[in-house]
């Protein structure tokens, strides 16, 4: 059907080994022969069969991408939740993979390790793991390497972490709120089992202690939804001493908080400050716009894939931990003093 390596070899009047050598850059082939081979490849429009290459070379050049999402129920089968952050990490990871001639397989959150064996997958990128994902549960030394976005407890094949300095940006956020005159920020978060929510919560508690504030952490069920956030905010506002600011661990929680605050007749940012620890394009659509921490998902996806590939190729040493720059973006929802930033 399609033209194969024999056709090329025949046309170039060389052996298939030579063709293979020319195309892979291995072995030594004279310039003249190389030219002959290249011309034959060109004329025939030859494309190496990738399945044969993978079988023969025993290298799959396939990576897997998993968003270690929310519920355990297999019915929530959406591979990529509707969040700007996830989409941008995926876009960057897919582009980086393609550039390196790797294929990126998108795994469901419930995917079992066996699928990795089946595809001969060499590396896995897991976003926001808790550490109890099926992929981690292999007793024997598995055949794949793992890089995570977010920290996770020790595992032999876990060879890299790409993360942000959430403690630093959380502190920056708290100081910003303080500057704006907010006295009692509360923290609205999902599952503290993820390292980023955990980091935020820790820093928040530390800051409260240092500043003589009573910490107020509401841990919500996953997935983060506007409605659950709204319920939580309703509760918070009913307290004797309601918070005057809310920090949320996800965009949808911030949206829900804003909605509920406004339903209560509160003016944001005057009566309540709102800031999300994860930025998203939707936070610019609300009135007021919502302050958030920009985590640079593009950088994260790109970095994670290159960590993975260099580990697969046996370059550099592991485990590695990369911290990606992040920064607070102050918008209207916490800009009580009318800064013009």
């Amino acid at each position: 059907m399609a033209v194969n390596i024999h056709d090329v070899a025949h046309r170039a009047e060389v052996s298939i080994t030579t063709v293979s050598h020319v195309l892979s850059g291995r072995g030594r082939v004279s310039a003249a022969t190389q030219e002959k081979v290249r011309r034959a490849v060109e004329e025939l429009g030859y494309q190496a069969n990738i399945h044969a290459q993978r079988l023969a070379s025993q290298r799959s050049r396939t990576l897997a991408f998993q968003i270690a999402s929310f519920t355990e129920s297999p019915n929530s089968s959406s591979l990529i939740p509707n969040s700007n952050y996830f989409l941008e990490v995926l876009n960057a990871a897919a582009s980086a993979s393609t550039e390196m001639e790797y294929v990126l397989l998108i795994l469901s959150a419930q995917a079992q390790p066996s699928i990795l064996d089946r595809y001969g997958i060499a590396g896995v990128l897991i976003i926001d793991p808790r550490g109890d994902e099926p992929i981690f549960q292999t007793e024997t030394n598995p055949n794949w390497l793992i890089v995570t976005n977010g920290r996770v407890a020790g595992n032999e094949s876990h060879i890299g972490t790409v993360d942000n300095d959430h403690r630093r940006t959380t502190r920056e956020t708290l100081e910003h709120l303080s500057d704006q005159g907010y006295q009692n920020p509360a923290l609205l978060t999902t599952d503290l089992g993820r390292s980023y929510t955990n980091d935020v919560a820790h820093e928040y508690r530390d800051w409260c202690q240092e500043n003589g504030r009573e910490p107020l952490v509401i841990e919500l069920e996953e997935p983060p939804m506007q409605e659950t956030a709204a319920n939580a905010v309703r509760m918070l506002l009913d307290r004797d001493h309601p918070p005057d600011a809310v920090i949320t661990s996800a965009e949808d929680l911030a949206l829900g908080a804003l909605h509920e605050a406004q339903a209560h007749g509160l003016v944001v940012p005057r009566d309540l400050g709102i800031v999300s620890v994860v930025d998203s394009s939707v936070l610019l659509l609300t009135t007021p716009t919502i302050s958030a921490v920009f985590l640079d998902p593009e950088q994260i996806g790109k970095t994670a894939i290159s960590l993975l590939i260099s580990a697969i190729d046996g370059e550099s040493t592991f485990p590695q931990s990369v911290i990606t720059p992040s920064s607070l973006r102050i918008r209207e929802s916490t800009n009580r003093k009318g800064l013009t930033a």
Copy 2:
């Protein structure tokens, strides 16, 4: 390294042919032998090597997914634009593929046909094509089948279309606007070369003619952005007889239109009605919420993949055209008379 078919055959005391037969369901194997084989598979945790299967069977079980996006410039390398619609089509297509034991490769908008040969790709799903995408440009009968979301001019390998009845919903939208007392709706659209924008524009013009209105179609450059929409709306409002409603072909255009209208001190829906022909979760976040046509991207992705796979398997006849149900969702931005829907 990993356990292979010989290991299983040895353990079950049968030939590898028998193992293959049992696993694929072909040939006839006695119940007793089947049981032996299955037990061996179970005990060894055998997973067939997928690359070997593909090479031997000459079937790649690989599909490609492409969003035939916006610009021709290869620098806009984002594979999946930040739009709810695309994300949901992709999620559904990926899930459906996985269910059928197919792999779905995400192609960039600039991907060349050669990549399809390389992977032995059997089918391609293209979202919102204009018809001039590289994948269509093969003189000789190519080795893959194409299903599109949106119509496209004849091509031998184009064996299916999944679409909505955009003309019907556009008419429904125009009648709704009319019911709400809007007299002069304008159409804000991107590239009319796509079938859905084309359908909308046609129906809009027909309706204008039937109702003695002057059609006002603004065709914007792609990609659809809030800013370009805002500029267009600014122009529209400066006219002698500005429109009192705007229909947009994309969520971001609606967002931009709303923003600009409000910046001009207009009250939506009172002074200007806004409705998007493509629904998105972000249209619920604005104040007011924005009316839109729900296209059911999940259904579209799912249907497209099953069309593709049944074509690959040689079932049913082609070409096929499937129309997926869609409906107008009336929200605040066009609810001038204070309906309580």
